[in-house]
Symmetry: C2
Amino acid sequence: MFGIEYPIFAFSHCRDVVVAVSRAGGMGVLGALYFTPEELELELKWIDEHVGGKPYGVDVVMPAKYEGADLGDAEELLGKLQSMIPQQHKDFLEGLLAEHGVEPSTESADRVLLGWTDQTARPQVEVALKHPIALLANALGPPPADVVELAHEHGVKVAGLASSAHHALKQEAVGVDIIVAQGTEAGGHTGEVSTMVLIPDVVDAVGEDTIVLAAGGIGRGRQVAAGMALGAEGAWTGSIWLTVEEADTPEQAVPKLLAATSRDTVRSRAWTGKPARFLKTAWTEAWESEKSPGYLPMPMQFMLISDALKRIGRSGDGELVTFPVGQIVGSMNQVKPAAQVVYDLMEEYIEAIERLNTITNAD
Amino acid sequence: MFGIEYPIFAFSHCRDVVVAVSRAGGMGVLGALYFTPEELELELKWIDEHVGGKPYGVDVVMPAKYEGADLGDAEELLGKLQSMIPQQHKDFLEGLLAEHGVEPSTESADRVLLGWTDQTARPQVEVALKHPIALLANALGPPPADVVELAHEHGVKVAGLASSAHHALKQEAVGVDIIVAQGTEAGGHTGEVSTMVLIPDVVDAVGEDTIVLAAGGIGRGRQVAAGMALGAEGAWTGSIWLTVEEADTPEQAVPKLLAATSRDTVRSRAWTGKPARFLKTAWTEAWESEKSPGYLPMPMQFMLISDALKRIGRSGDGELVTFPVGQIVGSMNQVKPAAQVVYDLMEEYIEAIERLNTITNAD
């Protein structure tokens, strides 16, 4: 479909990683979430100049459900949502930060409404479609049908993330070409069903023309092979690109990611208000403790914590530092160039297939 | 190692299933938990008479940690633990049952201390080793070193369930021959790490002489193939045998198992006090609600609820009925003979390998 050499899709918020993976024969997919439309334009221009004509994609987030879908445009929405954040939550957060010696905020939080709404993601799509992208991906529910149509008019394939066969069918119904079936072990927003169980469920549910990629827990060649054995046609990866040489992951998070085992993540609402997997730290413990006021709905939880995350980063207190990552973090122990990660994945993939053939023929 | 035709291990509490799977070319493993030593003797005698000389195994539970390890023998322990169950928990449970129209208990609970202690499991081991078993498996931590030694003296291989590489190494240290690396998607007692992430973790951690079986989320041939692709040498299955023709699963649970999707399970302490996966029903909701008094430690939680489970079964109220099962329950939609399940697994396994080879050679 894309003429790529290896069926490896690499989700990353970092343009350098996107370019490195696409140039190495996989397909980089830039997460647009943190960018304003103007910033996204600059990122994509840079990618176009460096990717050497190889295919790449863009990932946006248009949640099917969130607080404020009917509250006007992005600016209006931001103001209204800010006024809806309870004082109790602000007090809990400031108390937690003070306990860990994090200094009070000196500036007003500047840009807390991220691309987690239709209002903020739609302008990102418009920017993306002006570039020669090969793929538009969407998380948190089926994208609006008119967005799928618009992408197809531009000759761009559309991928949708799904955490159950039920969700995959909804994606298929709006015309999505590729289902990224993502198991609970994945980093970031994630469902409850594991990759092992989910992939055959989704492959059997969707039609023959819909391509299924396996996501969640994939960071080694054996896992790529397992995803394909389950019926997928490729692998969608994310976490493993956080610790490559090219990544712009916050420097206080990198040592924690390298040291973490596969048991050091948690699926919690304490990041965005929807269940997402990230590093288990004093942050997640506090939000799940008896003192916690509970979580705000998307996008308010992240609006509440956005400024705090920056202050935690500056404070030098490592205990609260967390980062979205999947259980595969346990095997992310070494910083390597992104291209090397692509080659290592494919080498171990081939070894795994050879071993499977040997075992099967010997039986 | 066992001279079996297919690398499929089938854990079941039902002797008919054990025999059917072993006769079909896999290896049945009888869960001894619910049997007194006398009952276990009868079960194994029956298996010996019907298994036609094929290898089979026995699974016991000797938890590394539980309440009452130092409280004397089984009888003493039972009395002491019974007196330690708080009235608050009894009241919560009776209130919940009354809400659902379940009648009060008319008889005293007869046998509530199951084989979840060293005191109760050790006599089971003694019985098992008098029979021509090929495998002794143990869950919930490494078995005592002397039990491993005793099994080896009888020419019996020992398997241990592990939910992390760390636990697998502890099992290896006491001399276990086979690690059953079990992902979070599995039914019954289970850890947090998914099968996809866990298997390579464990395979890389243990020595070359230790055999690793993949468990958790395995109920189709594609999943067997995925487990092998991840580095395992066989598959350990459990849930899928609950709905075969030969199974003695409680009749009120069977329709619920057949109807459930992969999203209808939950990992909770509301069954035994340790995290276990079972069907999400009014039972699990109640124990996780604000009214819940919390869970008692193993083995007290099951002592508390054992009689209630029987009364729920008799009451005809389906809402509270639950049963330990993994996420694979979503693909358990049809009652088939156990031998047919074995053949279906292997047929789809071969198809998956062939598809993998086609994809890989085409790339």
